[in-house]
């Protein structure tokens, strides 16, 4: 059962090949068996999941099955879940139980999906290796001495190890695409505003976007269908009709113009990754797509721009964790200042503190113009690069990450770590949709291919990815030991 794709499982449940309870039990069994090795889940909601599965079986029996009826999924622990702890990977929220569901959680539940648990992540989604989590790092199912990528490392590892057929993630600078790449699965970051941010704990509000993880592009389409749509509770949510993400999956892609940014395929890219990406391009060519070399001249500015914008927003977004109303509070504060200093000092980890400090600095009077305002200008330049490119091409293609998964603990220098997201960050700065799909291996570890589209072209991205996946089986590879 666990080897089958999400779309396939949904169809099988509807045909009553097996019950949701059986499937959910199977997933819970695999979680119990493999999670000690992976640390992908921080919370498993077994009883609740089984209750929901039985209810789903009733609906299926009654012929009232919804799109994801009875399909077990996992939520990144950044999405608030009513009555179930939402830790955001932080000691700060180790005791936090939200009195509401995030819109994403609500929508997936309304589509019939069964939540089996909450997945591990970098603390407050700040990290590219899942090593900043208060609950310890997640291990990559392809090699448990390796990182799964981050920040949505738990969700990516859970899907890669076939513990669940699908999971949610969030992507602020690559936090869906990079772990999808490193774990050999598919992941999609939608256009900014396509999926509601309500109830999703904010890291950098202007960049954060929720999206799905699954084995295949088709599965992503099914999940995205349930997750996206206008939400009046999120002012940045887009009020436009949700397209049918599956409708064009099988369309031919002959004539599709594929942009190959020279900045993404040159210096700094591992040879093994480059080779896999080149092979993937050949597959697209065989399908009739037309490669066009393009330039995104401001690419090199993306990482520095991001590390001004994101920390600035995070320094403000994380100010609410002050030990006053909820979350971690230090023991016996002497006075207000002590309460603030120790609650935050003890509640946050090193990477979060680093970014709060950077963000506070770049917003400070005297530095605001030089950093924050300048970064906003660069952000427009970066967006303009893409706007120009999409005048020439339909989809941009390149590596998701410059390297495959690396050893746990290998990147101690934050700057080296930040460079993991060198190809993904610009997409967030521009608010574009992007996805990563498996395109081969280098040194036995998965390589991710990144597809970037113009605003609202998720159907076209999914179509291109799906056609590629019809020609290849990289996405069907299961890590040894997890078959």
């Amino acid at each position: 059962m666990h080897q089958r794709s999400l779309a396939d499982l949904a169809a099988a449940l509807r045909r009553r090949e097996f019950s949701s309870e059986e499937l959910t039990r199977a997933c819970l069994g695999r979680i119990a068996r493999f999670n000690p090795r992976l640390n992908a889940f921080v919370t498993v909601t077994e009883e609740r999941a089984l209750g929901a599965a039985r209810a789903a079986d009733q609906r299926i029996k009654a012929g009232e099955a919804r799109a994801l009826e009875g399909v077990p999924i996992a939520h990144k622990d950044i999405f608030c879940t009513k009555g179930i702890r939402t830790s955001c990977g932080s000691r700060m929220l180790d005791n936090f139980i939200a009195p509401y569901d995030a819109t994403v959680v609500e929508k997936l539940e309304q589509a019939g999906a069964i939540m089996v648990g909450k997945t591990n992540m970098d603390e407050f989604a700040m990290g590219s290796s899942n090593e900043t989590s208060h609950y310890g790092p997640v291990c990559n199912p392809w090699d448990i001495s390796m990182v799964p990528g981050g920040s949505s490392g738990g969700s990516a590892a859970a899907v890669a190890a076939r513990l669940v057929p699908g999971a949610t993630g969030t992507d602020t600078g690559g936090s869906i695409r990079q772990p999808a790449a490193l774990c050999g699965i598919s992941g999609l970051k939608p256009t900014y505003g396509a999926v509601s941010r309500y109830g999703m704990i904010a890291f950098a509000s202007s960049l954060d976007q929720a999206g799905p993880f699954a084995v295949s592009a088709e599965d992503l389409a099914v999940m995205l269908q349930a997750m996206s749509g206008f939400d009046p509770r999120d002012s940045t949510s887009l009020d436009r009709p949700v397209p049918d993400y599956r409708a064009a999956l099988d369309d031919a892609i002959a004539g599709l113009r594929i942009g190959l940014p020279k900045e993404y395929l040159g210096e700094g890219l591992d040879a093994g990754v480059a080779k896999a990406v080149e092979e993937a391009i050949k597959v697209f060519e065989r399908l009739g797509a037309k490669p066009v070399e393009i330039s995104l001249p401001n690419s090199r500015l993306a990482v520095p721009t991001y590390y001004v914008v994101a920390p600035a927003e995070c320094s403000s977004n994380l100010a609410r964790y002050d030990g006053v109303r909820f979350g971690y509070r230090c023991a016996e504060p002497r006075d207000l200042r002590d309460l603030y200093e120790r609650s935050r000092g003890e509640g946050f980890g090193a990477e979060v503190k680093r970014r709060i400090l950077i963000g506070t600095y770049v917003l400070s009077s005297g530095y605001y113009d030089a950093y924050y305002l300048k970064a906003q200008r660069l952000r427009r330049l970066i967006s303009a690069d893409f706007a120009r490119a999409f005048g020439q091409v339909d989809v941009i293609l390149g590596p998701t990450s410059p390297s495959v998964a690396f050893k746990l603990g290998a990147k101690q220098d934050p700057l080296t770590m930040y460079l993991c997201d060198i190809y993904t960050i610009a997409v967030n700065l521009a608010g574009l949709p992007g996805m990563s799909i498996p395109c081969g291996f280098a040194g036995g570890l998965p390589v991710g291919l990144q597809l970037i589209g113009n605003y609202f072209t998720e159907p076209r991205l999914l179509n291109a990815a799906h056609r590629y996946q019809r020609e290849t089986d990289w996405h069907r590879r299961v890590p040894p030991g997890f078959e």
Partner: protein, 483 residues
């Protein structure tokens, strides 16, 4: 000449006007005053993780009304920013407030002090959310936090430093108060903090162009406190300067019990608020047509009403000012004048300003609670005008109406207060009185004109005030002289 004359005070005011929307500026929680602590604060007001603000359109419309009423430019695009600082009653660690691009720019308000008219510039008015309240009593070494007020919409109205003394400052605030209540955007309740201000005060040698160092007086919530605090602060600064000292730029709190201002502790350490645009909210875009639609809903404004009252009702400036100072009072007057039909409007003005306000004041009642309606008062005035009763008897009737004994006509009938206008009846009484007081009659005839009053009094007493005073006078003079 006192030393005081050599100095000139320069004052600018920041008025905080609570907008009377039903729900908060960024959440659906109620804004009603006086509920149990923390019962009117929802997840958004509490700043729980993952929640997002959604702007209340009604608050925007109210701000636009104000802008149009003071002849300001209403911005077609304004932006909400975050003002970052830590305080326990500020749940998110930032206040959402408009900063660089406010909704209202420029404007003016005309005030009159001692008959002198002066135009005070309004720099800007911007929308923001209020914070909660810290309660320092009753918690034995702790502070309590009540977040009911958190998220209440405020319009902060910033004046130019055009005010030159406490009297002008009070006149400005009163005018502003009248205006916002007229506009129906604020309930004007100063005890509940719906209308309050901070004052920036500095002094300089009279005639000097350069401004002195200013201090900011916080949270002045009555006209009396505004006046006293500013007066105290002006004198304090003059004294400091005359003694060769220096005024420090600082925030001071007015203590009405001690009648002094004191530097505020703690909160004020050269704060850097690190303002930046709130990424959770889109810019507020207003189309010209929408602004014009709002303009069409503006009520008649105080100044226009004042002019009309003088023109249409023949009132003096003073009368018109008193009656238009409060929209409800102006409405009451107009309804009374209308109900009084052909009566001189001046009579209605005198009664409203005199007897009605006097009675309300005596009984501590608000106009809305007046036991006498404009229709009833108008009915009374008609009886004065048609000589059914004298002005003096009318006061008795008014008191009876005040005690809810019925309409004027019913009271006049029940108490037999109808004026005696039958000349023969009065003549008989006059004859009797003259006959009964021969010596006084003789003295009058000998030239002691003052004694006429004695005779009038006697006749009125004999008729229990019901005789027409004009007729009585005329008859007495004729009979005594002719005698």
């Amino acid at each position: 000449m006192s030393l005081y004359m050599e100095w000139e005070a320069v004052i600018g005011l920041e008025a905080h006007v609570q907008l009377m929307t039903r729900s908060k500026i960024f959440s659906g929680a109620s804004t009603a005053y006086g509920a149990e602590p923390n019962t009117q604060a929802c997840a958004i007001d509490l700043g729980l993780p993952g929640v997002l603000p959604v702007l209340n359109g009604e608050a925007v419309r109210m701000a636009v009304k104000f802008g149009l009423a003071v002849g300001a430019e209403v911005a077609t695009r304004s932006i909400f920013a975050r003002k970052n600082y830590f305080y326990p009653d500020l749940p998110k660690g930032y206040q959402i407030s408009q900063y660089e691009q406010p909704i209202v720019k420029g404007g003016r308000l005309e005030i009159a002090v001692d008959g002198r008219r002066k135009t005070i510039g309004i720099t800007r008015a911007h929308l923001e959310e209020d914070a909660g309240k810290s309660l320092h009593e009753d918690f034995h070494g702790f502070s309590g936090i009540d977040l009911n007020r958190a998220g209440t919409p405020l319009l902060e109205i910033v004046s130019e430093p055009d005010l030159r003394g406490a009297a002008e400052a009070v006149a400005y605030m009163k005018k502003l108060h009248t205006l916002v209540v007229y506009l129906g955007i604020c309930d004007g309740n100063m005890q509940e903090g719906s209308f309050r201000c901070d004052a920036n005060v500095s002094v300089r040698p009279k005639g000097a162009a350069k401004l002195g160092t200013r201090t900011e007086l916080k949270n002045l919530n009555s006209f009396r406190f505004i006046e006293r605090a500013i007066e105290f602060e002006i004198e304090r600064q003059i004294e400091v300067l005359e003694n060769g000292g220096q005024v420090f730029q600082e925030t001071r709190l007015y203590d009405p019990d001690e009648h002094e201002t004191r530097p505020m502790r703690g909160k004020e350490e050269a704060f850097d608020y690190r303002y930046f645009p709130d990424p959770d909210l889109l810019p507020v875009e207003l189309e010209r047509a929408v602004i014009e639609d709002i303009r069409a809903t503006l009520p008649e404004l105080p100044d226009a009403k004042l002019g009309r009252f003088m023109r249409d009702y023949g009132l003096t400036v003073y009368e018109a000012e008193v009656l238009t100072a409060d929209r409800a009072l102006a409405d009451y007057f107009e309804a009374t004048a209308k109900a009084a039909a052909d009566t001189e409007p001046k009579l209605a003005a005198n009664w409203v300003m005199g007897d009605l306000l006097g009675a309300l004041n005596r009984d501590g009642l608000a106009l809305a609670k007046s036991p006498v309606s404009p229709q009833q008062l108008g009915g009374l005035l008609r009886r004065i005008a048609d000589d059914t009763i004298s002005g003096k008897i009318a006061k008795q009737v008014f008191e009876a109406m005040w005690r809810s004994e019925g309409d004027a006509d019913a009271i006049i009938a029940a108490k037999g207060l109808k004026q005696i206008t039958d000349t023969s009846a009065i003549e008989k009484i006059v004859d009797n009185i003259i006959a009964a007081n021969p010596s006084q009659a003789a003295q009058y005839r000998a030239g002691q004109d003052k004694l006429l009053g004695f005779f009038v009094g006697q006749v009125m007493r004999a008729t229990q005030g019901k005789a027409n005073p004009g007729q009585v006078n005329e008859l007495l003079v004729r009979k005594l002289k002719g005698g």
